[in-house]
């Protein structure tokens, strides 16, 4: 994988480089304009919209200072998002890996049924059950509660599928050897198999955390008081047809990307390795 030192500059290499530099610009350009805009005063934004021009005289930290004022709401949203993301990701990984491992490693009656159902849930747009799920949340008294956001989707089909594929490729010899040594079935899972599935865990952790951090429709439905909102929902409440909150919205949006960017840059190697090694063989 590691790129060899560029000794020869063939035409193909130069053309490919130009193509991918162009694509990288396309990928980063909108984010760069967003960062620039976050340092512009509000009137500038309302008058000219989003663009690349930055006048050094107009540079201001005001927008960032303002998001921390906002009656402290932005910080609360940030805290809520972090809390929900951590709880959701941890629970989701534990449960989904157990289920995926269970259907990969054991032969039992419900095995095929469960696997088919996992595929069915993947295929059915969850939006169709939003209304009954919403009524269910009301009767379970989980409305406006972080557990209402987390519980319905914590055992997710995609990670189950992924862990099943990954566990299926693990050597079974460990299993029998550990049983002979007197290890319980759960001991085998927690002490032997879980460490072996570490690459799958890291890639699914990023995927689930990202999904939770950016989740929109379901938290929009469940959470309804301002101090309980997550960042995406909170930011969307700043979106008014008159556009008078743009400067706050932009600074808030920039600040919300920072944690995911850091996590991704640190873990991207594991993430990509896990994807490559694991379930996406189809």
């Amino acid at each position: 994988m590691e790129s060899v030192a560029p000794t020869k500059w063939s035409l193909n290499r130069v053309l490919l480089l130009i193509l991918f530099i162009g694509l990288a610009v396309f990928a980063l350009f909108p984010l760069v304009t967003l960062v620039i805009a976050s340092f512009k005063p509000a009137q500038e934004l309302i008058r000219f919209g989003l663009n690349l021009q930055m006048n050094a005289d107009l540079f201001t930290w005001e927008n960032y200072i303002e998001i921390f004022r906002l009656d402290g709401n932005y910080l609360k949203w940030y805290g809520n998002s972090i809390l929900i993301t951590i709880i959701f990701t941890v629970l989701s990984l534990i449960f989904s890996s157990m289920v995926g491992y269970g259907i990969a490693m054991y032969k039992f009656k419900l095995r095929n049924f469960i696997f088919v159902m996992v595929l069915v849930i993947m295929a059915i747009p969850l939006e169709i059950i939003m209304l009954p799920l919403y009524k269910l949340m009301i009767s379970m008294k989980l409305m406006n509660n972080i557990w209402g956001v987390i519980l319905p989707f914590v055992v997710a089909p995609l990670p189950i599928f992924f862990f099943r594929q990954y566990a299926g490729g693990l050597p079974r010899d460990f299993l029998d050897a550990a049983r002979v040594d007197g290890c319980t079935e759960y001991g085998i899972y927690f002490r032997i198999m879980m460490p072996l599935m570490a690459p799958a865990f890291s890639s699914m952790a990023i995927l689930q955390a990202l999904g939770s951090w950016n989740n929109f429709l379901w938290p929009l439905i469940v959470l309804n008081s301002t101090e309980k909102l997550t960042i995406p929902i909170g930011l969307s409440t700043l979106l008014t047809p008159y556009g008078n909150n743009y400067q706050v919205l932009i600074a808030g949006a920039c600040f919300a990307v920072i944690p995911v960017l850091i996590v991704f840059l640190f873990f991207q190697r594991y993430f990509i390795e896990g994807m490559t090694a694991g379930g996406v063989k189809g």
Partner: protein, 312 residues
Amino acid sequence: MESKAPIVKVNNKEPRSKFSKILYSQTIAPYVFVLPFIITFAVFFVYPVFSAFSMSFQEIVPGESKFVGLDNYQEIWNPMFKKAVMNSAIYTVLTLALLIPIPLVLAVLLNSKVMILKDMFRATLFIPALTSVVVAGTIFRMAFGELEGSLMNSIVTSLGFEKQKWLGDQWLGMMTLLILACWRWIGVNLLYFLAGLQNIPKELYESASIDGATTWKQFTNITMPMLKPITIYVFTISIYGGLAMFTESFVLWSGNRSPKDIGLTIVGYLYRTGWEQFNLGLGAAVGVALLGITLIVTIIQLTFFGMFRKES
């Protein structure tokens, strides 16, 4: 590894109780592993799906609900719903047409021997997927704003064209949605295809080039067939994603309110009827209709790929 057994013994003084013996047996263990799925599946999936069906035959007003037969289904057969279905269908087809071939070719190019800085480009192209739809939508909403100074208008006016109301026109609006989709998803699909490419044995290419196969021949005869499983996977999740698209249009047109409903999608219509008009029965009917559409598309897709499988 040995510590587990003594702990159990400390807990129950006699030899393991009957219950824990059963719990630790090899026949019960798999059920314990899948228990979280069984519980959440029953409570948060099976029950709501049945409930969605039954709600769709009812008129639900706070406090009471009555059976109205197929009335809700008759009612959703209106121009607004048809518009929503059309928008979702066009969006799905066009995203498939863009977001499968482009990332596939890019993955092959990025994977080629002459390419350098692979890891850097792979990570950079993935970065847009890290942003939430709300952040991405906000950027695009402003960049495609109707103001003269907005990014897109300053580009087209400098090229000598008239400024446009990007989000006020059916096709320009759809184009904006598609550019947004490409921006966010090219890096993700590229990663899937790259993962698929790593699983193709190198010897296949080596023996092919010894036999004198051109690069193009290698691409069509080795790469494409070997990438079929991952392509089917990407194709499938793209269909589901396309048909269920909502947040993008919600953010681009600040809260589901696009002029002449040019950005209304099926889920957008579900949201409008269910939450904005609080007509739960009608919303449930829209949901069931979406399920029907998805099932039809899935069946078509399965037969299509199934035929492919017999060939090989």
